[in-house]
């Protein structure tokens, strides 16, 4: 009782006193994507046996581990281990963490709540300042217990970087089964760490290139019917999927506009592909490019005012930027090799792309004016970059050297922190969600 009262104070104070900027002492310095990692301690806090918990063992311990995995995957933190395990009602003493050099300390306390719910008290301490930097009481259904850790990690990330965390998010991808030629494919959505994967489509029809709406409630993707690709918009709550009524041709590369009201896509007809938008409410279609060549892979800037896309109008795939109405088209990628699959960062500052040279595909980033290009992956065959909502990480598809299996990977912007996403079977065409509802 006593503690809960005080914790409530902390929770409220932190919301008053800590704006979502990284000006406090626990600031991760990020310059040009290079960060000096913040020493952080995330001790295990046991919750003991919990009524109604899924058979994941000690939920408290599991949640501590998930927070560690989340934060370390960002490449911005260095884990400090003190080797102590706390029980849920144990007091935390700063001294050992201070001695071990931890500047930040994350304590999460899990407790069962009524109606099959789990409460998770997530506290971020400034070890040297000796105070709570931020805190949050997270309530989730027991079935979604892992989200408590992701939300806690999001809070830590947002306080220390000033950017929203990307851990409580979903990844959408195409899962393939079997070997060619009888390969089937279906859409899957999973947590950003690969957990809680759910199939979204079934049947043997081919699906490709999915994208989330900005509010993560709808999807748009290609689906083949009678061997012709269609663009489908599906509502994740109702399960309704509607086919977009677009002009004849072969559509591909659909993406939502930042306001979620329209879908931008490429439509190929008579050997020429151009970029179009369709307003989802009125159904009106507008053609934005009409240059000869394959104009495709459109992606909006976060403000919706500009569009980046790829085109081979110069004879080779390069990246172009235009205004939202199709005017002021200009090339921004120069240099050896071909450039494609551009994707505009949610932070507005960068564009991720696939670079092709000597038959090798790599993922790179550049500023939105085309300067500062750098390749950040070095796999045998890396492509399809998709931004995290933080703008601090990119999901991409990596195919093994033999070409037989593709997986999803996540990288930071330096390319130093990279890890595969655990999926069943092969996975391709990643699309990262925004904030989950």
């Amino acid at each position: 009782m006593m503690r809960s009262g005080l914790r409530l104070v902390l929770a409220c104070l932190s919301l008053v006193g800590v704006p979502a900027t990284a000006q406090g002492p626990l600031h991760v310095d990020i310059t040009q994507g290079e960060a000096s990692p913040l020493p952080i301690a995330i001790p295990e806090v046991s919750s003991g046996p919990m009524l109604g918990a899924p058979n994941a063992g000690d939920i408290g311990l599991a949640l501590s581990h998930i927070i560690r995995d989340d934060l370390l995957s960002a490449g911005l933190y260095r884990l400090v281990t003190v080797g102590e395990r706390f029980s849920v009602d144990q007091e935390v003493v700063f001294a050992p963490f201070m001695r071990a050099g931890a500047q930040a300390l994350v304590i999460g306390r899990a407790q069962a709540a009524d109606e099959g719910r789990l409460t998770y008290e997530c506290l971020l301490y400034d070890v040297f300042g000796g105070r709570v930097e931020a805190s949050q009481k997270i309530v989730v259904s027991m079935a979604e217990w892992r989200r408590a850790a992701h939300k806690c990690a999001d809070m830590v990330f947002s306080v220390t970087t000033g950017d929203p965390g990307h851990f409580d998010t979903r990844l959408l991808f195409v899962a393939g089964d079997g070997q060619p030629p009888a390969r089937s494919a279906h859409l899957v959505a999973a947590d950003f760490d690969g957990a809680n994967a759910t199939a979204l489509t079934r049947g043997r029809q081919l699906v490709a290139m999915p994208d989330f709406s900005p509010d993560s409630r709808r999807l748009v993707f290609m689906s083949y019917e009678e061997m012709q690709p269609k663009l489908l918009v599906a509502d994740t709550r109702s399960g309704q999927a509607t086919s977009l009524n677009i002009p004849q041709g072969v559509p591909s590369a659909p993406r939502f506009s930042p306001d979620g009201r329209s879908v931008i896509f490429s439509l190929a007809r008579d050997g020429d592909a151009d970029i179009y938008t369709i307003d989802l409410a009125s159904g009106s279609v507008r053609q934005l490019t009409n240059t000869a060549g394959a104009d495709t892979s459109p992606s909006y800037a976060p403000d919706g005012m500009s569009i980046v896309f790829e085109s081979d109008r110069s004879g080779e795939q390069q990246i172009y930027v235009m205004a939202a109405d199709g005017s002021r088209q200009r090339r921004i990628s120069f240099g050896t090799g071909a450039y494609g699959s551009p994707s505009w960062s949610p932070r507005n500052d960068m564009i991720a792309y696939t670079h092709i040279e000597s038959g090798q595909l790599r993922v790179g980033v550049m500023k939105h004016n085309g300067s500062g290009r750098r390749i950040i992956t070095n796999g045998p065959h890396d492509e399809d970059p998709s931004w995290a909502l933080s703008g601090r990480a990119i999901a991409f598809q990596r195919t093994n050297a033999g070409g037989s299996r593709s997986m999803l990977w996540i990288t930071d912007l330096t390319g130093k922190a990279q890890h595969p996403v655990r999926t069943q079977g092969s996975a391709s065409d990643p699309a990262w969600s925004g904030k989950r509802p």
Binding site: V93, A95, I138, E144, R237, V250, S266, R269, Q317, P437
Partner: protein, 193 residues
């Protein structure tokens, strides 16, 4: 030595509790419980489709001639696939010969429609390869049209690099992925058109 201590006298506690209530009242969003999510639905997106065109429709129906089968077409045209150069939709000499034979067969079977399907290798972006596949299928369509096949019997589609014939990344394998396939789809109303 700093510790986080939660031990405070009862009076202070009561005062605190009151002020918390006031504070939380002001900050309505102080502790927002997470909304519980319903399980994601599964989208039913139409009946299952034949994933790979060849051999799935060994016999076409209805047909004026009983030899209007995919096997017969392949025998006659020597092959239903043609191959392209890298990142190109130009028809090679060999491809033209195959298409000549296909055109002759299609002229003999005027009730049969064909789906022209362009595929591309793994060495381009996913988006570009869709456009390239369409470009290849379009090249096939214009060639067949010039050889006297009614364009209304031909539909153009692209699978980009989504359906490789061979998965390996070496050049020999990628060569066989740069292809155009002619798939017979029966009479115009076979799929309810």
């Amino acid at each position: 030595m700093r510790t986080v201590s939660f031990r405070i006298s009862a009076n202070v506690r009561r005062l605190l509790r009151l002020s918390i209530l006031a504070l939380c009242g002001v900050l309505a969003a102080c502790q927002r419980p997470t909304q519980l999510l319903p399980p994601a639905p599964i989208f039913e997106i139409g009946a299952p489709q034949p994933p790979l065109p060849e051999h799935v429709q060994a016999t076409l129906r209805p047909s004026l001639r009983d030899d209007a089968t995919t096997d017969d077409f392949e025998r006659f045209a020597s092959f239903s696939r043609i191959y392209f150069e890298r990142n190109s939709a130009r028809l090679t000499e060999e491809a033209r010969k195959t298409l000549d034979a296909q055109a002759a067969w299609l002229r003999e079977h005027p009730d049969v429609r064909a789906s022209l399907q362009g595929h591309a290798d793994a060495l381009g972006t996913r988006e570009h390869q869709f456009a390239l596949g369409e470009r290849r299928a379009t090249a096939m369509k214009f060639y067949l049209l010039a050889r006297g096949v009614d364009p209304h019997r031909l539909t153009v589609t692209s699978f980009g690099k989504q359906r490789p014939a061979v998965l390996a990344l070496d050049e020999a394998s990628q060569k066989s992925n740069r292809r155009g396939e002619t798939v017979l789809i029966g009479t115009p109303d076979a799929f309810g058109h």
